[in-house]
Amino acid sequence: MNLDTVIFFAAAVVAVFGATMMIAQKNPIASALYLILSLVAQAILYVQLGGLFLGSILIVVYAGAIMVLFLFVIMLLNLRSSDDLGPPPPALGRFTKYAFGILLSVELIVIVKAARMPSKATGVLGFPVEDFGSVKAVSTQMFTTYVYPLELTGILMLIAVVGAVVIAKKENNAQVSDDSGSDRPAKKQVS
């Protein structure tokens, strides 16, 4: 039982716990916070796997930026708990849903167990490779081999930002609301 194993199991348990609590919570804010917890644990695992840069990014961008955005939206919409969701759906339906999720996981685990893994994979921290996963190493790859995907992603990002603004923008003039589908129920503006 070396440090590696301890760190892994600790982080794994936290990650799974965070994820489970996230879906178990009725309050979306709590869900979001548990997700952040899970993400932080995952970031630790990234670092353990040599991805120092990625781990940092995950915490900064995901746990930091994106989840804040979520929280912001939850609060903007003033969602406290899920009691406005009405009665829960029938148990049978819920059961099937769990069953499929678990079945899927079991299948994937069986695959992982059955697969022949690369031999190097036995030790993670035991084989410190110089410079692996550093900012330099990742960015070298990113700006040479993967420059086009990167640029495309950038464009995607830009479009997403513009799109988000357009979508979320309040419809002020009646003309727009007329055009955007007459078969929708009457719109109630939330100010």
Partner: protein, 644 residues
Amino acid sequence: MSEYLFLIPLLPLIGFLINGLLLGRLPRPVITIIACGSVALSLILSVMLFVELKSLPVDSRVIEQTLLPWISSGDFSVNIGFLLDPLSAVMILVVTGVGFLIHVYSVGYMAHDPGYGRFFAYLNLFTFAMLTLVLADNYLLMFVGWEGVGLCSYLLIGFWYHKKSASDAGKKAFIVNRIGDFGFLIGLFIIFWNVGSLEFDVVMKQAPLVFAAGGALITTACLMLFLGATGKSAQIPLYVWLPDAMEGPTPVSALIHAATMVTAGVYMIARSSSLFVLAPDALMVIAIIGACTALFAATIGLAQNDIKRVLAYSTVSQLGYMFLACGVAAFSAGIFHLMTHAFFKALLFLGAGSVIHAMSDEQDMRNMGGLKKHLPITFMTMFVATLAISGIPGFSGFFSKDEILWKAFSSDHGHVIFWVIGVATAGLTAFYMFRLIYLTFYGNERMSDEAKHHLHESPKSMTVPLMVLAVLSLVGGLVGMPHIFGVTNYFEEWLGPVMAGAHEPVSHALASGGGDASMEWLLMGLSVALVAVCIFLAYYFYRKNLKATTSLAEKLSGLRTLLVNKYYVDEVYGALVVRPTVYFSVFLWKIIDVIVIDGCINGMARLGGDISDTLRHSQSGRLRNYATIFAAGVVVLVAYFVFG
């Protein structure tokens, strides 16, 4: 001269085209000149060609002219070509001659009709079709004329189309004729696929070689052709259209439904005599049908009150006579009767037309009477015709009828029963014809005062044709006097070269010598005696003692009702053929088409729709359901691809 043969049918066609295309735009005199002129020219040409034909040696009396190829397909080929031989020569003379007279008559008869131009156009078209029929050198072109005259008959019967009865009658005529045409076509098919040609000369030459005499094939072919003839010539079972056809203008009845078109069946059988002699069974059927029709129609004629209907049934009866002649292989006798019948029956119809004209379109004989002094010329001429049709010795009808009776008795195909039926028919004919004369021209004047006021003799254009026809009825029979009179039967001799087996019965009769001759005298005497008795009976019942008629009619009221209603044949046909067909058609349409077939198809469509309707509920619109199904799919696919 012979190269102008094609002009004979073409001239009336030109007349039709001019009058038809310039429908009603021409002044009446011009129409008259075109219509009558074209037929007159045809008549002149016919006479000239007849003379030319006569000048040829007996064995080569044939003039042929091929105009253009018509249909050819593989080994089938038919030309539009004309053939003038003694038989068609007689026919064109009858057609153009009687036709011309009737054209002239029509000028007066139709003078006040608004459809004057149309009438003459149709009449010319009819003349064209009839001439095509008789001049055709092959069966198919004959069929053209055959259908053509049917069409004109349809158009002319329904000439006063605003009368429903008229257009009904026209339609009935056409459809009944079509049934006959169906038989004609089948006959043609059998002939063509066995002989390989439809040309008359080829067929007549080849027929004895390819068909086994008396075989089923030739018998079927002949019976099919005869079915065609029964349609056109109004024989049992297809005679029903002819009495109704009297809805047409009277000149039409005279031309089409007495003198020419209805005799086309007789002409066709005479033309195909070489085929028919190969099928004795078919001949017997023809003789039986002819005899039955003759008697049957004559009995109906006894009880009719419409002057034209009496004549119509008389026509059916006389046509039965001609078929009887054909059925006993006495084709030339049939044609001879055809010719004389054309004269006197046309005359009778025209006379009846003159009466109707004078009576302001009254046709019921019960409302006539005593017209003798008002219509002297009409009376005289009609009386001549009545004597002719009754078979009074010396008149044309006597010679032709007598020849048929003798042949029915003496021919190899004949039988004494045929003779008995023939004589009985002759007696009935004499009775109802004199009944007509007495009811119409003698006795009290039973018409209304107004009608009486309008009584007048017809104009010259109508009486002159009557007189010409009367002369022909009187002397027309002289060309075919029986051998026992010690003179040559010119008519039979003339037709000899074209008639199959024509010589046979003659030689038979001659060979048997005096015994047969005395027999012939005896039979002739018997029939004349019967006719005389019948005329007397008619005189007794309808002139002398009208009370006896009514009492007799009361005694025989059942029979009388049966006769007045024409044995209910129309009703039976309606119940057995027409109505079931219509009901069956409605069944096919409403049940089979709409419910069964369309039901299946719409049902399939509805099934598809219903299935989709059920399935679309799986599209609940709930994202999580879709996701669940998606997950299930992934589970199953992974299971299949990885563990399967």
